[in-house]
Amino acid sequence: MTNKQTGANEEAACETVWAAEKVSWIDRLPRAVTMFLVLLVFLSVWQIAFMLKVISHIILPSPFATIEEIVTVGLNLLTGDYMLKALWTTAQEVLIGFMIAVVLGFFLGLLVGETDFGERMVMPYLVAINAMPKVAFAPLFVSWLGFGIASKVALAAFVALFPVIVGTAAGIHAADQNARMLFRTIGASRWQTLTMLKLPTGMPHFFTGLKNAAVLAVVGAVVGEFLGGGKGFGELIRIAASMINTPRVFALIIYLSLLGLGTFGVVLWLQRKLIFWHKETITTEELFE
């Protein structure tokens, strides 16, 4: 624009047209497509690394061999062969362990969160136990409860217990000062304050604990199987690894993770149903807590 024009077009200049906000082409693609692209890049890097022999082929199989194995294992699972039985065994360990953790964790959380006795006398022990590497107790559980399902259930429950305790206790403390004061001025009993104020307010915290517990229960069960044998999926992984069948190990881990994802999904679904007022998306923080 020349100087002459500036004077003449002063009014027009006021209506500045903003350049359209720039959105990179990658952000415009549908999410499914970009997610697939990321997977494709990952597999390509893997394939290149395989072809360049960066790592021995025994340790790092080609992505194609792995995908093939995923299909093989998947077919085995679908036809209800021994792998499905193994998966069912592990699923039982995870679910029973998880449920024990939820019930026990809820009551311990109540004890710690709601009573002075719990907070002063029980809490320090819980903190101390929580600081321990819990899977290190696996050999003990095996020697106490044998090589059957019980020792794995116990380890799954033990590992998953603490997030539930923390979630419950944190939830009980979540109600704000005014809400408590309101309940007191109304003359609510302790039971009413707990059931009508503290527990509903704490639901999101409780569910955060449950989601962590759902994932940890799988860890507990599998570690139990690694150390205590049995008939579960962990045992299959251990056998495949000892035969240096790396593609199979990868394939088994994929299906095992579906178990954790499934439990997590059920808890998430339940949370969205129950806590309809708490609109939340899964945050990165929560996933890696």
């Binding site: 704000d176 005014n178 809400a179 004061m181 309101l182 309940f183 007191r184 001025t185 109304i186 003359g187 609510a188 009413q192 009508m196 104020l197 509903p200 307010t201 806590i275 309809f276 007022w277 708490h278 609109k279």
Partner: protein, 270 residues
């Protein structure tokens, strides 16, 4: 208005039956050795509106807790409707800066909460009709089944007003009820509050940080000063009722605001 009148700690007050009476209320937290309140005298008559204004930490929340029966005074007596306050009372309605609604309950379920806590679910259900009438009174007709998430700040405070009124309390204690709202909503809600109080002949005690709010709503404005919390002065607001927002531009209104500001500046912010 003479100085003697405005500066005496216990003004003659309006005529009428006293509802709330505080005599020489002091509070010392022994463990922390904090002298929180010093000889508070208040006499709220039926249908009157009393505001207390003061900086943070002047003992207002201690005073409110004593009035609601959540704390016992170290000295002095608190009487409500002729009976001493010794614990939480049914005939006190309370409201806070935050609406403190419960998101898992609809508007009407939030309103009947005090009934549900005191008399059970069945009694609460029977009160739904009254609750709806109250929501209608505060201009929330048609919002009965809405969850608090979908209400604006002002609307949520109206629901809180209804919850306070559902038990038909003898006195309303308002703890900075509209200070979380924007200025425009606040003026509007103040006028709504006046209308509701008049309609129900409510006796109201308001704690606020806003001098204009105190002046436009009240019959009496007490200025509190801190350490220990005491009533430094009480001003009788002699403006005609009903008050309107236009009054805020009148010189009389400005004079009251100026007077209270000067009283506050004396020592409240040291």
């Amino acid at each position: 208005m003479t100085m003697e009148n405005t500066l005496s700690s216990l003004p003659v007050g309006l005529e009428g039956r006293p509802v709330f009476e505080l005599r020489g209320v002091s509070k010392t937290y022994k463990r922390r050795n904090v002298h929180a309140l010093e000889k508070i005298d208040l006499r709220l008559t039926e249908g009157s509106f009393w505001a207390v204004i003061g900086s943070s930490g002047c003992g207002k929340s201690t005073l409110l807790k004593i009035m609601t029966g959540l704390l016992s005074p170290s000295e002095g007596s608190v009487m409500l409707s002729g009976k001493p306050v010794t614990g939480p009372r049914r005939d006190i309605g309370m409201m806070f800066q935050q609406p403190t609604l419960f998101p898992w309950r609809t508007a009407v379920e939030n309103v009947v909460l005090p009934i549900e806590i005191r008399d059970g679910k069945k009694a609460a259900l029977e009160k739904h009709k009254d609750a709806k009438a109250l929501l209608d009174l505060v201009g929330l007709k048609g919002f009965e089944q809405v969850y608090p998430n979908e209400l604006s700040g002002g609307m949520a405070q109206r629901v809180a007003i209804c919850r306070m009124l559902i038990t038909e309390p003898a006195v309303l204690l308002l703890d900075e009820p509209f200070s979380a709202l924007d200025e425009l909503s606040r003026d509007f809600m103040d006028m709504e509050l006046q209308r509701i109080c008049k309609e129900r002949n409510a006796t109201t005690f308001l704690v606020t940080h806003s001098i204009p709010e105190a002046v436009i709503l009240s019959d009496m404005v007490s200025v509190m000063s801190p350490r220990p919390g005491r009533i430094a002065a009480t001003v009788t607001i002699d403006l005609p009722r009903p008050r309107t927002l236009e009054m805020m531009t009148e010189p009389r209104f400005a004079a009251y605001v100026k007077q209270i500001r000067e009283l506050l500046d004396k020592g409240a912010f040291l």
